[in-house]
Amino acid sequence: MGVTCVCQVPLAEGKSVQQTIDILHKKLEQLGAVKQGNFTVDCETYHATGNASGQPTKLLYVMHNSETPLSCLALFEGGPCLTADGNFDVLMIKLKSHFQNAKGHKVESRGSRYRYCDFLIKVGAVTMSSSARGISVELEYCPCVVPGDCWNLMKEFMQSFLGPSIPELPSVFATKPEGLYAPADCVDTMTQYLELFSKVRKQQVLPGTTR
């Protein structure tokens, strides 16, 4: 596990989500990347009940990543986070009285996984209640563990296949440019996915993309 950056890619002019994804795949294959399977990242939202009135409801997010299939991550936005094994989902069902599942708010990103030299690139379609809402790209540079060291290198690589739409430095990196990335439990990666999913939830439904 190395430094990972998650960003949202705008749709190409006049193309749908699937067409833009195909364009990205083609560009990656032209560079020399090799497809290595599929990936899934999803996020479920739970409302914490039993709060004192007047306080905003706290939202608990439970996320899964196919890179760590036996674990799941539970976190409050901007708050503490917990890494647990797969049985945590069952536990949440038992805690129905305290946490209610907002079923319509499940967001997931599904797509293909590519490997190029020491880079891992995942291009996925972000869907919310089976309507495509956008495209997520996750780029991981495996050999490096310090985000501050390799950000320029990663930007150069993203430029080669994303073109001009390069993201800026993720906020997770800004807080700890010299510190070690947290590889073991993918907390930093999942935090970035959470930010992306929250942005996507607030967006309008894209025209012509409902299935």
């Binding site: 030299c117 020491d118 495996c142 290198l153 690589f157």
Partner: protein, 350 residues
């Protein structure tokens, strides 16, 4: 002139006799056809057994016919075998004087294109015969002339000695040891740089470790007196350096997040890195340890190597000095110039 001609004719006669006393060619071809006849009569025996009894009116009739046929076949086999034995006595033995002793029998192998052993052996023999007169005198001085194979071996040793003296002129040596064609003469004084007390090695290494604040060197001795160093460079790499007294023998560069210990808890000094960038840096480090050479001052060599290795602390941050980019075929600039320590891509260095 006549004396010369008489001598040459005598020599020719001797050669012809050698040929004639050997194989009787006519009897040989007759023996081959006798073998074929024997084979066919034996086949007839088995065929008749396989076919079994022919269809006749009575059981007795069938049995009688079968038995007479079987007896006829066996008698023909007997006849052919006797004929073959008679012919084999006439064929005679081939000549005993082999110029190449047993290896000449290799020429009897008919499958020439798959196993061209005999022709290759002849070529090797001819090559080894091209000796300067000096070495022939050397061999003749020996009390007994050894057999063909031993002679071949001695010639090879001589050629190997010539080759090693030629190569030694290129000064590829990193240690101050004397090795050469005169292997029998042992060096009377052991060179001091190869046998150093471990305490001295420890001192040198710890002094070098203190030179650079962002590089930490740990010393292990898992296999006897050879030191194995684990060099941690910032948060970029973990390098394993295997030493032989104060000479650097091998090095393996791995990533900071890779495991340096094998399953049984020992330092893993063999497996390559999982990342292509560090595999490339390992190759460059091997080039570096061959480049920095000073047989009489190995501690200076170690210091230069460590200084060179330390330049990798900015492996992911430095663009290439030549093309200005960070990535070339997915790799950052992995080459560090030996004098200036500037960063280049592997394909960008001259």
């Amino acid at each position: 002139m006549t004396v010369f001609m008489r001598r040459s004719s005598q020599r020719a006669e001797k050669m012809a006799d050698a040929m004639n006393v050997g194989v009787n060619l006519e009897a040989f071809s007759q023996a081959i056809s006798a073998i074929q006849a024997l084979r066919s009569s034996v086949t007839r025996v088995f065929d008749s057994l396989k076919d079994g009894m022919k269809n006749k009116e009575t059981l007795e009739g069938r049995e009688k016919v079968f038995i007479t046929e079987f007896q006829d076949n066996l008698q023909s086999v007997n006849r052919d075998l006797n004929e073959l034995e008679r012919l084999s006595t006439l064929v005679g033995r081939p000549s005993e004087s082999h110029p190449l002793h047993n290896s000449g029998l290799l020429s009897l192998d008919p499958v020439q294109d798959k196993t061209p052993l005999y022709s290759q052996l002849l070529q090797a023999y001819k090559w080894s015969n091209k000796l300067p007169p000096l070495s022939r005198r050397f061999i003749r001085r020996g009390a007994e002339l050894p057999t063909g194979f031993c002679r071949f071996h001695i010639k090879l040793q001589y050629h190997a000695g010539l080759a090693s003296s030629l190569l030694n002129q290129q000064s590829l040596k990193r240690s101050a040891n004397q090795m050469g064609a005169s292997a029998k003469r042992r060096p009377k004084v052991q060179p001091s740089t190869l046998v150093l007390p471990p305490q001295y090695v420890d001192d040198v290494i710890s002094r070098i470790g203190r030179m650079f604040p962002d590089m930490s060197i740990e010393l292990f001795r898992p296999n006897g007196t050879s030191a194995v160093l684990l060099v941690t460079l910032g948060k970029v790499t973990k390098t394993i350096v295997v030493m032989r007294s104060l000479f650097i023998d091998r090095t393996i560069v791995r990533g900071f997040n890779e495991n340096v210990y094998s399953e049984d808890g020992k330092l893993d000094i063999w497996s390559k890195s999982n990342y292509q960038v560090f595999q490339k840096v390992t190759d460059h480090a091997t080039t570096a340890l061959l480049h920095y050479q000073l047989p009489q001052m190995p501690d200076v060599v170690v210091r230069s190597f460590m200084t060179w290795l330390r330049s990798y602390i900015k492996l992911f941050q430095t663009p290439c000095q030549r093309c200005g980019k960070f990535l070339q075929e997915g790799l950052p600039p992995t080459w560090r110039d030996f004098r200036t320590l500037e960063a280049f891509h592997d394909t960008c260095r001259q």
